[in-house]
């Protein structure tokens, strides 16, 4: 039973939804507090996030660095556009592989859903080509790590 949905919308959007058995405040904090982010935003087993800088304020920057402990790694940088605690985050991000990918504009909503939270991530890529490339080479949040792992298995 997967609670996650991932779908494309129009030519440039990707929509991800996920429900959590926790309040919007808790889910929001898990997305903005570096100490909490480092505990879950890791991708496959064995990967860690040794660097997690997160200035959760409008105009604030963030930088996440992942490593697999075997010399492989990559990082993501971004800037916050707007934050409405505990309901909405708007930010821009890009992966560095090591060349930066085109900017991904991301709106994340945390809506009360019964006793829990429905999180909706709406990504907007500059064009259809960039979205295709993102889906094909692996997405953010540990996607690239998973991809590297998959490559190792094939």
């Amino acid at each position: 039973m997967s609670k996650l949905t991932l779908k494309t919308e129009g030519d440039t959007h990707v929509i991800v939804t996920r429900r959590f058995n926790a309040s919007p405040e808790a889910v929001y904090r898990a997305h903005t507090d570096p100490e909490l982010i480092q505990k879950w935003l890791l991708g496959p087993e064995g990967w860690t996030m040794p660097v997690c800088i997160n200035e959760a304020k409008p105009g604030g920057k963030f930088r996440y660095e992942w490593a697999d402990g075997k010399g492989h790694g990559f990082y993501l940088t971004g800037e916050y556009v707007a934050l409405d605690p505990y309901s909405r985050i708007v930010h821009v991000e890009r992966m560095h592989l090591p060349d930066p990918t085109p900017d991904n504009h991301v709106e994340t909503r945390f809506d009360p859903d019964g006793a829990g939270t429905l999180m909706t991530i709406r990504m907007t890529l500059p064009d259809a080509q960039t979205r295709s490339a993102m889906l094909a080479t692996g997405m953010e949040h540990g996607m690239e790590a998973s991809y590297v792992r998959l490559e190792g298995m094939i």
Partner: protein, 117 residues
């Protein structure tokens, strides 16, 4: 590695609305270039060019039937894209399963406080 290159090509191929329409048409059954060109109001060379991209991406195959060369969807190609998206979902889900655990720990102290009241 070859699989990966095909996936890149497959997602790029899908970035074009005409090629998506061609795939939608082929989903209903095989068709020749001539049959494909008609509803799309495009020249045969233009359709052939799009078909070439789709074939190189592994999404469309062709069959020889006398002088006809009907095109059809490649089940393997479509399946490969489907598998890849399923893998992405799984990897995302792994992160969020971890977040579930974390949130369960965060909510606990609150509940305890609530019990005392």
């Amino acid at each position: 590695m070859k699989e990966q290159l095909n996936l890149d090509a497959a997602f790029s191929a899908l970035a074009d609305p005409t090629r998506r329409a061609i795939l939608a048409r082929l989903a209903k059954g095989e068709a020749t270039v001539l049959e494909l060109a008609e509803p799309f109001d495009m020249t045969q060379p233009a359709i052939s060019q799009h078909l070439k991209v789709l074939e190189n991406a592994g999404l469309v195959t062709r069959r020889v039937e006398g002088t006809r060369r009907p095109r059809r969807l490649s089940k393997a190609g479509i399946q490969a894209m489907d598998d890849w998206l399923a893998m992405l979902r799984k990897a995302l889900e792994r992160n969020y399963d971890r977040l579930d655990q974390l949130l369960a720990g965060m909510e606990e102290p609150k509940k305890k406080r609530g019990d005392k009241r």
